[in-house]
Symmetry: C2
Subunit: 208 residues, 2 copies
């Protein structure tokens, strides 16, 4: 863990500020966690930090496709934090059924450690956001997850099939993820279906 | 520019969705724009997209150090968009006084092009956010800029002086940037002063 500079700031709760700095320095490591998919221009693999930024921007742009009454600020807050557990747990490829088994356990341990770096009130708040995202029981969590699932499909379509081709992913496997998009946003789900149909026509998807 | 997949989604305004996708695909390029400063672990230079993510998280964590009544959601929204103009204009090093002269002109042209990819209502909204950030006249913009200025100071301190050492930056030059932090947040400004004093003791800063 990276320790903050040993300096004292007058007029603030020193212990609290130090805990906050410790968290801010620690989560910098998310920039080193690589995902499977490439950037849209195909130049290299995407990392979790820039991915989280892109999702937050996308959630704002696509806000009108969330169910009426969805709190977009809350969606953005969830998306900013949703992958932080991967600093310890690593990225689990969405079609890797072997690794998915232990994923939740590894990610919970990571959440226990990383969010607890924050002062306790902020730690409880951040952990609740992550739990909400994972549970996918609120409109906000379902929309956040929809945006998260759409992003690698866009990346794959724009890189000649990307990880679909690389790992021989079938149309049925992708359509299971499309269902998660549709549950968060009817319009984004419909777009994803059209995109996957087109990807199939182009030969980017394997047979089931 | 990257064109969205030529697919049609029923039940939505096709032209509007296409414009939104064009923007989302275009801003992916921010992941390729490198800043001068390194990651906290010193392993490589930081890019603008992951930097923007880190600022958005930091603004949330440090929210209590913004003046009372500051709308943090608005701060986060500004920070998510604040560097997008650098896709065309490139990153201007904060101590490069030569490049700073033409920076505003280049960035305005970039804003004209990139935000206009969005449907017009969203383009106007995004451009207003960027203008607000640059003008630094609201509490939200001043706090956003404070968080933006603090981040490379943390990176430099944690990488044995980083760009301060690399480019021979003096304490007086850094203290000018600290003033911008103090104008957005008294507490973060006080922390930055303490950090810079410590950096000077460690020999990270040149003489004026």
């Amino acid at each position: 863990m990276t320790e903050p500079a040993p300096v004292f700031t007058s007029g603030v709760d020193h212990e609290r500020l130090t805990a906050q700095l410790r968290f801010v320095l620690e989560v910098d490591k998310l920039k080193r966690i690589l995902r499977r998919n490439l950037l849209i221009d195909g130049s290299r693999r995407e990392n979790d930090a820039e991915h989280s930024w892109h999702l937050a921007v996308s959630a704002r742009v696509f806000a009108e496709y969330a169910p009426a009454g969805t709190n977009i600020e809350h969606v953005v807050e969830m998306l900013l934090l949703h992958d932080i557990v991967e600093i310890d747990a690593g990225d689990t490829f969405v079609y890797d059924t072997g690794a998915s088994g232990s994923q939740m356990e590894r990610e919970c341990l990571a959440a226990d450690r990383i969010f607890a770096l924050l002062p306790s009130d902020q730690a409880v708040h951040a952990r609740a956001l992550w739990d909400e995202f994972e549970a996918r029981e609120t409109a906000e969590a379902r929309f956040a997850k929809a945006v998260d699932r759409l992003a690698p499909m866009l990346a794959n379509w724009h890189t000649d099939g990307g990880t679909w081709v690389q790992f021989g992913v079938s149309k049925d496997q992708v359509l299971e993820k499309v269902k998660i998009i549709s549950e968060g946003s009817e319009a984004l789900g419909a777009y994803a279906v059209a995109l996957i149909d087109d990807a199939e026509r182009r030969g980017y998807l394997g047979r089931s």
